[in-house]
Every structure is written in C-alpha cells, then in structure tokens.
Amino acid sequence: MKLDPSFIWEAFVKLLPVIPTTLLITVVSVACGFVIGTAVAFVRIYKVPVLHPIASAYVTFIRGTPMLTHLLIIYFGLPMIIDAVSAQLGLGFRSASIPMIDFAFLAFSITAGGYMSEVVRSGLLTVNRGQIEAAYSVGMTTPQAIRRIVFPQAMAASIPNLANSFIGMLHASTLAFTVSVVEIFAKAQIVASTNWKFFEAYLAAAVIFWGLTVLIERVAVILEKRMNLYNRGGVA
C-alpha cells in the first residue's frame, strides 16, 4: 500500500462543505441536551416527587447504553409510533417524510441530556450553600436566587466540563452516518469509495475534527477566563 498525499488534500477539500452538517448536529444536540440536562439536574437536586425517580432512571439508562443504540432505537422505533398514531387519527402524515437528520437531532439530544445533567448537577453542587442563604436573606424567592445567584456561578464552574461534553458530542456526531446523514465521516467514506483510498480520506477527516476541537478548546478558554473574572483575587 502506498500513501497518496495529494489525495489527502483532495479529500480534505471535498469534506469542507459538510462541516456545517457536523456542526449543526453537534450544536443542536448540545443545546437541547443542555436544556434537558438542566431540567433533570434540578429535578434530582430538589428531589421533585414523581419526576425524581424518572430522571434518575433516564440518566442511568442513557449512560448505561451506547449512543448508537439510542440513535437506532429512535430511528426504528419512532416511525412505527408516528405511523400508528397518524393512521389512528386518520392523518395523512407518513414518517418517511421526516428528514433523516431529525432522528439524529432527537436521539443525540436525548444522549447529551443524560450526560450533561451530571455536568450541570456537579456545577450546581459547587455553589456554596451560603450563596443561596444570602439570596434569601435579601428577600429573593427560590427561582430568583437560582437564576441570579446560583446558576451563573454553577455555569462558570462548569465550563471545562461543558467543553468536554461539546467535544464529545462533536466526535460522536459521526454516528449519524448509520442513518444516512452525510456528515464528515460519511462524506469521507463516499469520497474514498471511488478509488478505495480510505486511509487518506480518514486522515483528512481526522485533521478536520482535530481542527474543530482545537477551536472549541480555544473558545472554552476564553469563556472560562471571562466568566471566572471574579475569582481573580483568589481570597474567598
């Protein structure tokens, strides 16, 4: 086997146009995952009746099963449910008209939610009890205290872990190729299938992923610096 350096470049250029797809899957799943994760974290911390055991079960199930299974369960299971409901109600809607990428959005959001709930929860736990007591003492309600005092501090403390989740989801988004979404990894396979130079195509894909990851790391560092400005004295 001989490496064909010029094809690495060629593949690299051909992969560039699908970067937005990969980023879109990542951003959507992280954003939705963050919302789900935050809700789950609060439900677990405040031990909300009924929801609390459900939230715990959700987190252990999601973390206890591979992300690929979440995607495939949604991909095969959801259309069955949708078509059955649609037929029952006499709607003309067919699951086949749902774009493939929507299954990836949904499944990955559910996955990200499970992992990110723990990120948010650990962030919330770093905030000293005295902070919420002080908020109460100036007359705030619990929602005000959480929104204005606890949550911002929890987020500042969570940035490194959130960046980790983001990078994890960026790389995991490659799984979308199994449901025929053409993101970077799928595109690399397509590019290579004409001449069987898979190695070169995957190298090009790796370079792109690395580049995107470095970018995320940089942004995280900047955010961390800015949001933790208040810790610079390092006394309290």
Partner: protein, 250 residues
Amino acid sequence: MIKLTGITKSFGRNQVLQGIDLQVEKGEVVVILGPSGSGKTTLLRCINYLERPNAGRIAIGDFEVDCERAGKKDIHALRGKSAMVFQHYNLFKHKTVLENVMEGLVIVQRMPKETARRRSVEVLEKVGLGEKLDAYPSQLSGGQQQRVGIARALALGPEVILFDEPTSALDPELVGEVLAVIRRIAKEGITMIVVTHEMGFARDVANHVVFMDGGAIVEEGAPKDIFNKPQEERTKQFLKRIMPEPAYSI
C-alpha cells in the same frame, strides 16, 4: 417590635431550641451570648427563616407568622422585614461590591436602577468602601468583605438587622474595623440582634443582653446587670470562663 413566642427547633432528635420567648423593642441592640451549641445562631436563623422553626410565633413590626402554618408567601414576607449579616460574609461571589448591594434593591424591592445605585453608593461610603465599588469580593480583605455584607443588609432598610457572629471569621486585627461600623449604625437607632463573642462590644453597644444555654434563655437584662451581677449560676460560670480574672496582678 419583634416578638418571638415559644420558638422550638429540632434537628432530628436533637432539640436545639426549647421554646424561646424574646421581645425586642424598636431601636434596641440585643446581644445574644452563650457557649457554642447553645442555639443562639439557630435562633437568629429562625428569625430570618433560614431555619424553619417547628413551632412558635414570630412577629416583626405588624407582621406575624405562625411557624407551624407558615406558607411560602408568609416566609417571603417575613424575610423582607429583616436582613442578615453572615459569619462567612456570603457575598455574591460573581458580583461586584456595588452589585452585591444593589441586587436586593433592584430585584426584590424593584427600585429603579439609578435610585438603587445612588442608595448603594451612599451606604457603601458609610461603611468606608466608596473606593471599592467595582471590586469583586475575592479582591477584598475579610474585614472589607464583612463591611460589604453590612452595607448589603443596611441598604435594604430592614426593620431589624441580624448579625451572626460577624467577626468570628476575621483576623484579630480586622475585627476592630467591622465592630466600628456596627457601632456606628447602632447609634443611628437601627434595631439589631447580634450573636457575638466580643464581650467588650456587648458591654458598650448592647441595650439588652440575652444569655442562652442548652437551647433556652437562661438570663436576660441590661448589660451592666448581666455582666456585673449575674443571677444564674450558669451565667456566672460562662462569664468567668470568657473573661477570666487576670492570673497575676501588678
């Protein structure tokens, strides 16, 4: 002005407050003394509802709460009557000195930002921190942080300020600046309840001293009576240990 009736509080099986009755007049400075574990901090926290009493009644001004039946609204309303200064300051870490003081005014009292800002600056100048408005708590000394804590409480204009061992976490040389500020605002006639181990402060500033032990009030009265001729044996023992006779004389 403030009236506590039959306040009880247990943590699990440990009954920390055994039915406290206490009355505080407007403008009074009440100092609560007692050995650690006597329930004085818990009592103070009950007044602000940071601890929920098991039973009893709390009245501040014309607002009264029955602790067994208090709902969210009652608790919220009661908290609005008092403000707390904490042992560990508990300043909002992510907010500047000015924002710390403005927060309650803007968010809770719905004061326009400009008015809140003026009021906050005024109060911060009073505690000697007019130069530190834009500093974060982590950039301040303990004494400065505690003075911000006092300013935060004072700015709210509460009926009573509760001080929970305000100087216990401070380096000895910083205690003076904080006590000086508390003394100054005591002179303005603001009602205060102070839990402290600073006996000199208690003697000078208090109008009313309460000695607690084992979750009950053992003795209370004017400072000169409590310090000079305590009636109860338990009070005598405590004062002796806190303010021992000099071991030698010159």
